[in-house]
């Protein structure tokens, strides 16, 4: 019986020699190969991973593992720089780009002995909420192929087959979420700017943690919005997220926006008494378009806390309704700025057009970026024009301050944690999702997750239950700045109560030899 505590379930197995790092790595790679239809990975670094696994094995044999993550297969979203392994951001602009350096978070994982299996798929440059708009094609939600979904789904017509019924993984870190959800790795890095880690985590039934802004280094994370981006952590249980957080958090001199304070990794206590807890339910998160299913689940969750003795109160975050437009202005302006470096001169795609430097730049950028990226650049530049700056950028900054103040007021009034839905509904079929454009989708899907990025607060998706369609639904907890320990402790308690079911995937069953078995098995609701 795996112990609970601050170790990844499988690391116990590694330590006790029940499985070796190379075996583990090979099994994950084999499972990966048999689930390529998910399109979760852009690059698989099989050979390098096996070498890392061999090194790890030597260390275990000597009785000197580097830490809890030694030998653990992980995956990294393809917008993090990885030395020697292609980093594409799912864009033609960076196809074939081999970075000369590792992002700080990647380096930290490697220094702990983690085995890097590969780079995961995403929306191009992390712009999107479905992981459908990258040049390598969309990511498929593993739950599309689960027994739970298949038995509930009713094909609309006879000619329809499984192929066209698959649902999106959410985005933009869909590849990482799918990789963790389908057991091809034990943890994955994502990024979160408006919900990009929590959204796919909810759709794929995994834990998705957005840490406090400034806690984890962004050095090496190719930026979308510098003032909101954070590296995100995707795992199958809350304890694992805490372990990964412990190995990543802390000041990085290479990133001037990380806080100087010392960070002490923590073990999550097993909370039994929630009577001292005050849970806030923000009424504005009952957003238009929120499915009745999720509304009911949210309500059940609130009752769960109430019945366990916690104080559950309704609170108000009055400026929530302005967050979409505010985000739109601040995001596009930063995108316009951050993308200015992609001109084909030093790296990346360079057009053959060479009549002049300017024409080369223009052609390179037209060829290298998809419509979504180009659209945001144009909008962003518009808002930054001298005549527009005051009315758009400055105004949006002020609204952002108001949104952040909403949270401060609520947390200042004695509320410890906020409980909200993560998404408006369970994952929609791909065919339906693409009927609306990226901008519309993003605007709809980000509403519940964005505000936490505006305010820089930590937030986590905890898989809660299966929907009527047999797909995962998660709920979100939002905590105070730098209070990840409290946030994760409450999330862990909740996770224990709901006992979210394990995905029943053919391929996983075939490759599993007891190693992939997760502790939780019973289901909630």
């Amino acid at each position: 019986r795996p112990q609970s505590g601050s170790r990844l379930q499988v690391s116990a197995a590694l330590k006790e020699g029940r499985v070796s790092p190379t075996e583990l790595c090979q099994r994950c790679l084999a499972l990966l190969r048999s689930t390529t239809f998910l399109n979760a990975y852009i690059t698989v670094a099989g050979e390098a991973a096996l070498k890392q696994a061999e090194e790890s094995e030597k260390r275990y044999r000597r009785g000197q593992p580097l830490g809890v993550l030694d030998g653990i297969p992980i995956a990294v979203k393809d917008n993090f720089n990885t030395a020697g392994i292609e980093t594409t951001c799912a864009s033609n602009m960076l196809k074939g780009y081999i970075s000369p350096y590792n992002a700080t978070v990647v380096q930290k994982l490697l220094d702990q002995g983690a085995v890097l299996l590969g780079k995961t798929n995403l929306d191009e440059f992390a712009m999107g909420s479905g992981s459908t708009d990258g040049v390598f094609g969309p990511v498929r939600n593993p739950w599309s192929y689960s027994r739970q979904y298949k038995e509930k789904s009713v094909p609309k017509s006879r000619s329809e087959d499984e192929e066209s019924n698959w649902v999106i993984a959410g985005g933009s870190s869909g590849g990482s979420a799918a990789a963790v959800s389908s057991f091809t790795c034990f943890a994955a890095l994502g990024s979160d700017t408006g919900g990009s880690t929590r959204n796919p985590a909810a759709h794929c039934g995994v834990v998705g943690l957005k840490p406090t802004y400034g806690l984890i280094s962004r050095h090496g994370l190719i930026p979308l919005v510098n003032s909101m981006d954070v590296p995100g952590i995707l795992t199958r249980c809350v304890d694992d997220a805490a372990v990964v957080l412990g190995s990543l958090a802390g000041h990085d001199p290479k990133d001037s926006t990380t806080v100087q304070d010392d960070f002490k990794p923590f073990e999550l206590p097993n909370l039994t008494d929630v009577s001292k807890l005050s849970i806030g339910i923000p009424k504005e998160y009952r957003a238009p378009g929120l499915s009745s299913e999720i509304l009911s689940l949210w309500s059940k969750a609130a009752d769960l806390f109430k019945n366990a003795g916690a104080k559950v109160i309704e609170v108000s975050l009055p400026h929530t309704c302005y967050s979409i437009v505010c985000y739109h202005v601040l995001c596009t302006t930063e995108v316009a700025s951050n993308m200015a470096r992609f001109d084909g001169l030093e790296y990346g795609h360079r057009s053959d057009m060479n009549k002049s430097t300017e024409s080369m730049y223009a052609a390179t950028r037209r060829e290298g970026f998809n419509d979504v990226v180009r659209g945001r650049i144009l909008s962003g530049n518009y808002f930054l024009l001298k005549q527009n700056y005051e009315n758009y950028f400055i105004k949006a900054q002020k609204v952002r301050r108001l949104i952040a103040n909403d949270f401060m007021k609520v947390f200042g009034s004695g509320v410890d944690i906020l409980l909200t839905p993560t998404t408006l509904s369970d994952a929609v079929p791909y065919e339906e999702f693409i009927k609306e454009d990226n901008r519309t989708r993003s605007a709809q899907d980000d509403i519940l997750t964005q505000a936490a990025n505006m305010a820089g607060l930590p937030a986590i998706n905890v898989p809660t239950a299966l929907s009527e369609r047999g797909l995962p639904v998660g709920l979100q907890f939002i905590g105070r700045s730098f209070q990840e320990k409290q946030l994760l402790t409450v999330a862990k308690w909740f996770e224990k109560q709901v006992k979210f079911p394990m995905i029943e995937l053919e391929e996983v069953k075939r490759h599993d030899h007891g190693v992939f078995q997760h502790q939780k098995s019973a289901s909630f609701s």
């Binding site: 720089n81 980093t87 090496g220 290479k254 316009a336």
Partner: protein, 463 residues
Amino acid sequence: LAPWVPVVGLEIHAQISSNSKLFSGSQVQFAAPPNSLVSFFDASLPGTLPVLNRRCVEAAVMTGLALNCRINKKSLFDRKHYFYADLPAGYQITQQRVPIAVNGSLSYSLCIDNKMSQMVTKTVRIKQIQLEQDSGKSLHDDTRSQTLVDLNRAGVGLMEVVMEPDMCCGEEAAAAVRELQLILQTLGSSQAVMAEGQLRVDANVSVHHPGEPYGVRTEVKNINSIRFLAKAVDYEIQRQIEELENGGTILNETRAFDSKLGCTVPMRDKEGKQDYRFMPEPNLPPLILYDAKSLPANINHQQVVNIDWIHERLPDLPSVKRAKLVERYGILPEHSFTLLNEDGLTEFFENVVKQTQMKPKKVIGWILNDLLSYLKQHSLRVKESPVSSCLLADLLNLLEKKEISSTAAKQVFAELWKGERKTPLEIVKEKKLEVIQDQKELELICQAVIDGQENEVIVMVLG
């Protein structure tokens, strides 16, 4: 014809003297092999972030204090966007909203009517000093239709010093820049050598009639020396006056100074006004500076810059040095200007004074009239002088002791200049330039002369 009032303002970029660049650790070095001093950040590799160089902040604070500015305890960084091959990120990190120092002044002196005897002091207001990144260099190879880009300079720290339009002619602009150059070199915050691109000056020039509003101004670039600065400004003033008197108008444009032709020409590259789409730099928190009062108790000293600490350690500025020289040695103010104006000359002068009994008031004549003119004639710097301060002191001692006449001394000096390593005494003996002190010997010589010139003597005696 109504008189014209020319108005001249300056934007000066001084490269900060530091080991590494403003936001990255790559080295700062002149004339290194192309693209050999480029970090990932300088090349704008995606995912890299700026980290502020403490030394650059200190250099800017020093300079601000020396220019009587108010140092802003909180200043901000911004992005200024435009596309150009030598700007890898597509934006420059600068300080547009709140720069590090504001509202200062610079005093400089001019000679009236080209005579060194009358000097007048003028002041120009310093609008601000801001920290910003230098760009790389691009060279256009027209034969091969290509542009060569060298990023060694990309990201080097600059202080942009903005001088208000308080100047009225080329001479004033030149004198102000010269004084700024001396200040920067004294502080060590910039080596300010124009020939190496460490000091770049752009001039803003306009003319108007007294009592009327300021005229349209042009910006003059590509000025490579202080001498050319004066020429460019004066040419542009003249050009504008002529244009306006002929009924024309002045365009708000950028012009380049052509040193060969001695005139300004419109620059080809400028295509109308650019909107730089300024935006705060999100990866750099506000720059907070402290003074003795505001310094928090338990702070890591590596992480803070203390304005008062820097103030206490400022060296004597040129104006103070000059005053001290005048007071200490009794030389004229205009002498002190010349001394400071030549690199190493003050030191040379003081070394000579130390080693000789001759009064400094007399020594200065030798330094400025003899040494300096020889140096200029041979285009040598003080460092390269074949006559050392030691040798000159020896020579002056001989003169002071009246062992040689001043005419003889000049001869000896000319000999010394040949650099044949002879001492003044050796030269005197060789050329028999000694003053004869012995009365008897002198009488013998005089007698010999008189004896040899009997007829002339009779004529003289008879009146």
